[in-house]
Amino acid sequence: MFYDFNPGSRFLLGTACYPSPELLSKAIAASQTDIITVSLRREGAGGGVFRQLLEEVNKKFLPNTAGCFTVKEAVTTAHMAQEVFNTNWIKLEVIGHADTLQPDPFALVEAARILCREGFSVFPYTTDDLIVGEKLLEVGCQVLMPWGAPIGSGQGLRNKEALKSMRAYFPKTPLIIDAGLGAPSQAMEAMEMGFDGVLLNTAIAKAKDPIKMAQAFGEAIVAGRKAYHAGLMEKRDMAEASTPAYGLAELI
């Protein structure tokens, strides 16, 4: 449950960098996502085509504040997105540095405080820092979105131990891995660890076949969730024979 929305799919898909609007549209369908991320920019070539696509896909929109470095920029962008996309949802990104695209946690909490107070449903793009997560919940966020790795890097879950701690520390908060995933196996692992969803963009948009990759990620996310519910076995240091020793023949 992400705020008041109970999605059929735990896959949130970004819409940027696809080779064409047709491929984007087909990738959205193949992913079986219910939620797509969008942004606001100065009108450029192809803007009308994208608006039409948004009308046709019939998905829930999660506008982002990508490219914002300050509280004011992020809050203004959220207000603009609310009007254009007619939604209270906002994927709150307040970036700390242009090269790392690492969130600025101090500005993030402040912007989240303002937007939650105004009635936004804030999806904060954050790190795996537990105290930052706590502060975000304190100011009213009901979902946290820790990064797997830096945006667009395709590195996967770079700090699994910290993410495991985060999952354990916030057992009831919906946690979505946002950014940095490059392969379906990485998304599946996140889901196996008990995360509630996965948000990604580049791994699909930049794949040789975005439609097939969208489907692959979609299936991996479903499988990972199923495995989490099924309960993974405990790891052991030593081997343990699975075939029974009882009844073993003496052949020497």
């Binding site: 803007g47 203004t76 207000h79 254009v84 950014a179």
Partner: protein, 65 residues
């Protein structure tokens, strides 16, 4: 009067944001606007008075991650 529209210098004689959009052929129903970094709601376009050197951002839905 000189204003900045999405980073470009524009000379205009119109008085309001709404009139500016009309002059520039911008459909006000599918954009969101900010002036000098502050959001201007759509309902205020017709009463928002432009001023010299105002920096206007007019944004549309775009692809995003």
């Amino acid at each position: 009067m000189k204003i900045y529209l999405n980073g470009k210098t524009v000379e205009t004689d119109v008085g309001t944001l709404f009139a500016l959009f009309e002059e520039c052929g911008i459909d006000p129903t599918c954009v969101a606007s900010a002036v000098n970094g502050n959001f201007v709601p759509r309902r205020e376009y017709s009463t928002f008075n432009l001023y010299e050197d105002a920096k206007i951002e007019v944004l549309s839905p775009m692809q995003g991650g």
